[in-house]
């Protein structure tokens, strides 16, 4: 079991994208209830979750574009 966890851990260190996706989805668990509360019942819980994910995606794109601006030679 521990070996399997260590294997997953080392794989995550190599493959960054799944880790970022996982962290983003986890963060959405905090963000989505806030979105749901802010819309005062206009949205369902599912819609609030997807909207939260869209907000995170937009922020991630903005961070990516900042990264391109500062390290353009890598793109």
């Amino acid at each position: 079991m521990l070996e399997a966890i260590a294997e997953i851990g080392s794989e995550w260190r190599r493959q960054k994208l799944p880790l970022y996706l996982f962290l983003g989805l986890c963060f959405n668990l905090i963000l989505a209830p806030a979105v749901f509360a802010a819309t005062s019942g206009d949205l369902s819980r599912t819609q609030a979750y997807w909207l939260g994910a869209l907000v995170i995606l937009t922020v991630a794109l903005a961070i990516y574009l900042f990264f391109v601006m500062f390290v353009p030679e890598r793109f």
Partner: protein, 713 residues
């Protein structure tokens, strides 16, 4: 600096017009577009898309709109017909997908052309059997892939040269058509700065050579060329990096703007629902739906230049390769466009390499016949074009060889003695540089007549090269060797001047001759009696003034200057040291090509600038197409100057235009904007007028046309 010597050069003059010269290996373009179409879809891989920030944003947008096609109410309930929304979102997804595919197609076509060229070259690089000379002197047959730098190989007539190397013994004709496209064989010989290097994959046609290998397997000239044209070693150039930053900034700005529209719209809609009507508020909210916001974002970010940027760069490299020039990087090609100063050798670059005898000028009381006779006797063993032209002129003047050539001995020209001639039992007949002949005559106890200087000055003032002729201790006269400025060069230099490029001519000739040639050719400056060291000094002094300098060279002593110059173009006929120091190698060994490279570099920069201007200018029309229609409920419907039918029609029309314009501009990106010799200011004005104003007007017309054609109500 061999090209500055007065010595004849075994230059092969490439045949045909330059535009007509291409690599001999026939580039297989069949199936290029089919492969490019397939490759366009393969490139949808996010790991590839992430390298292009603009298209990656479109790619992410496509995924989101795809989700919205399945569930239009994914991010909130829209007060509209779900099926209609699904159709609209599906159409948006489809168009966005093809926007990316078209951009990928442009890149794939450019890459495909390079790969086709690489395949043709690869066909010439077959493994051959090399005759390796062992330390014991015996010969062992091994595969060419087993050869290492420093090995000695024997090549006999008919053999393929197994790897790049320098000739250390033997003279032979080599067929270099596999890499240069020239069918005429080239005479190769050791010990000279030029024509002593051979390239792997070429074929020895006559005699036998001993070659020292200068490149390990996979590091040879053709290997490097393959890697370059395939784009394997392609890195972003400074200009591309700057443009990538600009595109990322623009994309980020529009991303922030578009992301803020829905909250603001929500606020305005809540105000409208209380102040005016619920329907107006609902229309406004629908106008700011996620799918429409993504459409607006894609329409506003510079997708045209974002999609074509890499294709322009690859096509630039391809154009250079088509000119039979190997660039070590895209950076070198781009640097050509920024060049301020061209340092050019006179002989072979500005004037034709072969000077011809035009006149005999007698001195010291001798007659014309005497000079012609001595000049003929001195040139009997001279096989250079100059020597042959002296023989022809003397024979036309009635002279005949006065001795049996079997009983005479030829004296070869050398850079040290600067003269050549014939030795007979009792006679030493010489022709050469006036100073050298003067010294020769004095060493034999003769005297120098004052009329020699007059003849020397007369020839120099005509822009020719004077060669004195003497027999034993007596000077007979001067041969006027006429330097012929290459046709059309004056106009080329005029063009360069208009573009702000300064030309400097370097020559070993005296000041008077140099000034006449400089004036005739139309160069901006010249350095006479130049030594090899002068070349690097000129480059350093120009660079100290903040200028970018380009130069050509072929000799080992040119290597430091080639390395120092911002663009160093080495001749393929030159030494390995020169080729390694330069950042470009001309396979045709035509130094004039440096001027063409400046043109290609400028064309590359102009194309990139023009398409960037066009792409940004397009935004205005797309903005006027989308914003007034989607927010008509907010009272800005009057801004719908194109009179587009509906919001849906406006969005789809703008996106279709956005995708199609990439496809339409692919030929321009690959071929390059037509080059005109104008100053930077004139080019900027022209660019703004054609691609700026055109970029504003064209989409208005195109979007309106698409809107009329579309069946949306």
């Amino acid at each position: 600096m061999t090209s500055m010597n007065d010595s004849p050069k075994p230059f092969r003059v490439p045949s045909g017009t330059r535009d007509s010269r291409r690599h001999t290996p026939k580039v297989e373009m069949k199936g290029l577009y089919q492969r490019a179409v397939k490759e366009s879809f393969v490139k949808l891989d996010p790991r590839i898309q992430v390298r292009n920030p603009v298209m990656f944003v479109v790619w992410v947008g496509t995924l989101v709109t795809l989700l919205l096609t399945f569930d239009p109410n994914l991010f909130g309930t829209l007060q509209a017909d779900v099926n209609q929304q699904r159709l609209l979102n599906g159409l948006i997804t489809f168009i966005l997908l093809f926007t990316i595919v078209f951009a990928n197609f442009a890149e794939s076509v450019a890459e495909g052309r390079g790969k086709a060229q690489a395949d043709a070259l690869r066909a010439t690089r077959s493994d051959t059997i090399a005759k390796k000379i062992l330390p014991t002197g015996s010969v062992q047959e091994i595969s060419s892939t087993e050869l290492r730098r420093g090995d000695l190989v024997k090549v006999v007539a008919g053999d393929m040269i197994p790897a790049d190397g320098e000739i250390i013994a033997g003279i032979g004709s080599v067929d270099e058509s596999a890499i240069t496209g020239e069918s005429a064989p080239v005479l190769k010989q050791p010990g000279t700065d030029i024509m002593s290097s051979v390239t792997g994959g070429t074929r020895l046609l006559s005699d036998e050579l001993t070659v020292r290998i200068t490149a390990d397997p996979g590091q040879g000239f053709i290997d490097r060329m393959i890697a370059l044209v395939e784009g394997a070693e392609r890195t972003k150039t400074p200009n591309e990096i700057a443009l990538t930053v600009l595109l990322a900034v623009l994309t980020l700005v529009f991303l922030i703007v578009v992301a803020n529209i829905p909250p603001i719209t929500g606020y305005v809609a809540s105000f409208l629902s209380t102040a005016t009507s619920e329907q107006a508020a609902a229309d406004l909210r629908n106008g700011a739906s996620v799918a429409i916001m993504i459409s607006l974002l894609v329409a506003l970010i510079p997708t045209t230049i974002g999609g074509l940027l890499s294709a322009i760069g690859i096509a630039g490299m391809d154009r250079v390769a088509q000119f039979n020039v190997i660039a070590t990087s895209g950076r070198a090609v781009e640097a050509c466009g920024d060049i301020n100063t061209l340092v050019l050798d006179k002989t072979g670059t500005i004037t034709l390499g072969n000077r011809l005898a035009a006149e005999f000028i007698p001195v010291n009381g001798h007659g014309m016949e005497d000079v012609a006779q001595v000049a003929l006797d001195a040139s009997v063993f001279d096989e250079t074009p100059e020597g042959r032209s002296i023989v022809a002129l003397a024979e036309r003047s009635g002279a005949k060889v006065s001795f049996d050539p079997k009983l005479a001995e030829g004296v070869e020209f050398s850079a040290r003695t600067r003269m050549s001639g014939t030795d007979l039992d009792s006679k030493e007949i010489r022709k050469g540089a006036v100073d050298a002949i003067r010294g020769f005559v004095r060493s034999r106890g003769g005297h120098v007549p004052p009329t020699l200087d007059e003849a020397y000055e007369r020839v120099s003032k005509l822009g020719g090269t004077p060669l004195a002729v003497c027999q034993n201790n007596e000077i007979y006269g001067v041969i006027y060797l006429k330097d012929i400025v290459k046709p059309g060069l004056k106009e080329r230099f005029d063009q360069l001047r208009r573009m702000g490029v300064r030309t400097i001519m370097l020559t070993g000739d005296n000041r008077i001759t140099a000034s006449v040639i400089a004036q005739e050719a139309g160069v901006d400056d010249f350095i006479a009696e130049a030594t090899p060291e002068d070349k690097i000094e000129v480059i350093r002094s120009e660079q100290a003034q903040g200028k970018l300098v380009a130069m050509t060279g072929d000799g080992t002593n040119d290597a430091p200057a080639l390395a120092q110059a911002n663009v160093g173009l080495a001749m393929n006929s030159g030494t390995q040291a020169a080729k390694e120091a330069a950042n470009m190698v001309d396979l045709d060994s035509d130094p004039t090509k440096l001027i063409d490279l400046v043109t290609i570099g400028k064309q590359l920069l102009i194309t990139r600038g023009a398409l960037t201007t066009f792409s940004v200018a397009n935004d205005i029309a797309k903005y006027f197409a989308i914003i007034p229609t989607i927010f008509a409920a907010a009272g800005i419907g009057a801004l719908n100057v194109m009179g587009l039918k509906s919001a849906n029609s406006a969005i789809i029309s703008a996106l279709i235009y956005n995708a199609l314009i990439i496809l339409v501009l692919i030929p321009l990106a690959l071929k390059g904007v037509q080059f005109r010799p104008l100053t930077a200011d004139q080019l900027l004005r022209r660019n703004i007028l054609i691609y700026g104003v055109g970029g504003v007007i064209a989409p208005f017309i195109a979007i309106k046309l698409i809107d009329v054609i579309l069946p949306f109500s």
